[in-house]
Subunit: 382 residues, 2 copies
């Protein structure tokens, strides 16, 4: 029997029942009229989510495939790229660029901190010859639970003239991302995050400036070729057979999200994130992320004194059915992470903090088991 | 309301209800123990389907992504590749190789015909210096309805020493594919064909010789990097977030297929294909494919005299709910195609041929409407 679980990781996130079942519809011809109507509808919905009037394409791939698409469509081998990284996913974006032959210069910030836009501005200002062709940045760094301020970073990069490529895989819908207003040239998102649908699709928004760069971009591309995606979209198709169930699910999820409204969706994520942070703090735990830049999608928590992260996660899973994420790479045993994006409710946040309090006590902490619940309830308000 | 349809195209194919619903299970942590068990189970099942003791990996992508993975993992820019093409998908495989910098020599055969293994043998025998690093071949050419004889081609290529890369996207399970016994080095398949699950996954089998080539292969790869896939598989994970619903569905479909047995599955496809060919012939229509090499997955039919393919497909869809595929590229108005792979029953074959007879009459043919049904029933036997 499958055990009931509370999936509190930063993706895959829980999926509403109506969205799960939308994926169980019979298959259709991906080159027929029903799919064309579906593709048009979800593409229009995505443009509203990305807050863009430009192109958005849907790729059958994980989010990382979307990052690869971002790189190979607009760059050439030898191009100088400035990677502005604050964690695992920022580093991954840079590695992809390197893999395809870009010269990557790193402007890294301490894990747990956000990008300092002034340092970025200074580096770009020093590039008098405009050698830097693109800047890579992560909107929400899932590995550290830090959100970067794209409303500042976007204009800083535009002032220089480089393309700004954004990993928004875990940020879209969990936080405001104004693709056009903030001058973001390429933005990549993933289906299994705040979109409330299973993994299998990546979304990619492309500005007119990115299209212009694409004409001269020489990195090899076939599966990720967005020119092909555009040609096929005009006929109501995707170049390659799409993951049809996730397209059905995207339509259903977008209906739910449009009924809620973008601003309400952002506010919901902010409210839940604040409750988690309050609860975690009340349990005597410390946030890993700089509180000034803590993410509304995922909260990173430092290892409790005297308790192994692996033991805590195991107890949470086996006794309480709460699935938490560990740390990645050098943070593996240093932090754990609570995802609170997508289809997560206030009672589930409370349940998670209750289980966390109980588990901490069982593992030797002297904390009041229910202190996290009380603080989260206070944060959520009446 | 969604209209009832008989989806008779060569993918996406109809999905059994139990498989559809298996995809509607709640999400799980893709880095947790349940997914590790699932991944181990379906990987073992795929090895039996591919008839290989070597590695098989599951990629979150369309089949074309699997083809790109095949190319970029084992080749270097400048490598000489022999493309043995008999249609659209063979040409696509060659285009991918060219896109990533291979020198591609084409050994093409007329569309509707299969590869002549003796011509392939002669070309390889002339390559005394062993310049040809890989041979690309399509097992089942979906665009023309022709199956190549890999049991002959495999040993011919092995004798030369080049790697043999096989597009088996629409062939696996619809026809015998003995990866190890026939010396196939890389075989790619797609989920939405005879596997009876929705699109979203590509499967790729890799021989030891292909692994050896991979060590020196210099084409850039990140998302498709099979070395990463192998490292993660050893920990029960995929490098990137997998399309979890399709993994659940693959487990369910493999259970159904294992209960049937591989040989019975091939025989079922052969029986349905023969019935379709008999029925089409009895309706006075001509096969596009050389009958000696006609595919057991899809039947290509020449445009009926005096009837437009588009008009026929439209009437079949709108009046009878039967979805047929058109031709591709230069065959667009020359043929239509009937898919009969995966979850397709004998009564559905009969229904399709009945609708086809009625539609032909309505469009002016003098044929006996039910001649196709009678011939198919005769072919299927008692």
């Amino acid at each position: 029997m499958d055990e009931k679980q509370l999936l509190m990781i930063p993706g895959p996130t829980p999926v509403p029942q109506s969205v799960l079942l939308a994926g169980a519809k019979p298959m259709i011809n991906h080159r027929g009229p029903e799919f064309a109507a579906l593709l048009a509808e979800v593409t229009a919905g995505l443009k509203r989510v990305f807050q863009t009037d430009h192109d958005v394409f849907i790729l059958t791939a994980s989010g990382t495939g979307g990052l690869e698409a971002a790189i190979v469509n607009v760059l050439s081998p030898g191009d100088l790229v400035l990677s502005v990284s604050i964690g695992v996913f920022g580093d991954r974006f840079a590695t992809i660029a390197k893999t395809f032959g870009a010269k990557v210069e790193s402007l890294n910030f301490e894990w747990g901190q956000a990008v300092d836009p002034e340092k970025l501005r200074a580096r770009l200002a020093a590039d008098k010859k405009k050698d830097i062709k693109a800047v890579l940045v992560t909107h929400n760094e899932t590995s550290t639970g830090v959100a970067n301020d794209l409303s500042t970073i976007g204009p800083v990069v535009r002032e220089h003239g480089a393309l700004l490529l954004v990993d928004g895989i875990s940020s879209l819908l969990a936080m405001d991302c104004q693709t056009d207003a903030w001058s973001l040239d390429v933005v990549v998102a993933g289906s299994q995050k705040a979109f409330m649908i299973p993994p299998g699709l990546a979304f990619i928004a492309i500005s007119d400036r990115a299209w212009a760069a694409m004409a001269g971009a020489k990195m090899p591309r076939f599966y990720w070729d967005l020119k092909k995606a555009k040609d096929y979209l005009e006929r109501g198709q995707t170049p390659w057979t799409p993951a049809v169930p996730q397209f059905f699910q995207l339509r259903e999820a977008l209906k739910i999200l449009e009924a809620e409204g973008l601003q309400a969706c952002f506010a919901r994520h902010a409210r839940l994130a604040a409750a988690v942070r309050a609860g975690v703090g009340a349990l005597g735990l410390k946030l890993f992320a700089d509180p000034a830049h803590a993410s509304n999608a995922v909260t990173s928590v430092k290892k409790p004194d005297g308790i192994e992260v692996s033991a805590l996660r195991k107890l949470m899973l086996q006794k309480y059915g709460v699935v938490l994420a560990g740390g990645q790479q050098q943070l593996q045993n240093e932090i754990f992470r609570i995802g609170h994006l997508g289809y997560v409710s206030e009672p589930e946040i409370i349940a998670t903090l209750g289980a966390l309090g109980l588990a901490l006590r069982e593992l030797g902490s002297k904390v009041d088991s229910w202190a996290g619940v009380a603080a989260a309830v206070g944060s959520l308000g009446g």
